[in-house]
Symmetry: C2
Subunit: 94 residues, 2 copies
DNA sequence: CCCATTCATCGTAAATCGCCGATGAACGAA
DNA sequence: TTCGTTCATCGGCGATTTACGATGAATGGG
């Protein structure tokens, strides 16, 4: 949790921006629900091409919301520990 | 609070997208803090041109986060009642 | 009735987004 | 080594965002 307000604004903005698309919210919900890792099943759950889903995952990863670990030929994604809590705290601190 | 998950996703995405810029987070914080209405003072608080701030305000308004009431030659903005609570609930429900 | 103030909107330019198909890289299996 | 699978990345397209200055509409003061 940043003490500086400017930092808090930028951090919250970064997280919020990452959630600023229904598909990415759906991905987050999916990963929280299974609270473990998932892979290309995410693609099956969404009505988008594989490359599109991959880009959404990239955005969530770059925002620090999720993490992807290589597991053989596939990649398992899971929620970055503490990320949701941080988001909640930032929204709470509005 | 929507019961349908798709609706919840779209709503959260809409709110999050509106918060997806540091300036807009700063505006929200400003309005929450004064928990009343403010006008062009917002412009003075931000390092942007008046027209730019006006656009940010428009986005927040369209997302349902703030409201603007005309008061003579100026416009007073305030947080839409319940909007922050709704946002918190949606983030909580992740 | 003017004029200044306040704010929204328009027009514009650069950057980013969102989507796709195609390609590339990494890995396991045969 | 040669496939097939899985996923990331590239290239491209139209749409959207972000920023600005300029203009326009509404209001109140003189």
């Amino acid at each position: 949790m940043p003490t500086d307000e400017r930092e808090a604004n930028e951090l919250l903005a970064r997280l919020a921006k990452a959630l600023g698309h229904p598909a990415r919210v759906a991905i987050m919900r999916l990963l929280v629900r299974r609270e473990g890792c998932v892979c290309g099943e995410i693609v099956d759950e969404l009505p988008f091409a594989q490359s599109t889903v991959s880009q959404h995952l990239k955005q969530l990863k770059e925002a620090g919301l999720i993490r992807g670990e290589v597991d053989g030929p596939r990649v398992c994604y899971c929620v970055e520990p503490g990320a949701v809590a941080l988001l909640r705290a930032l929204v709470e601190g509005l």
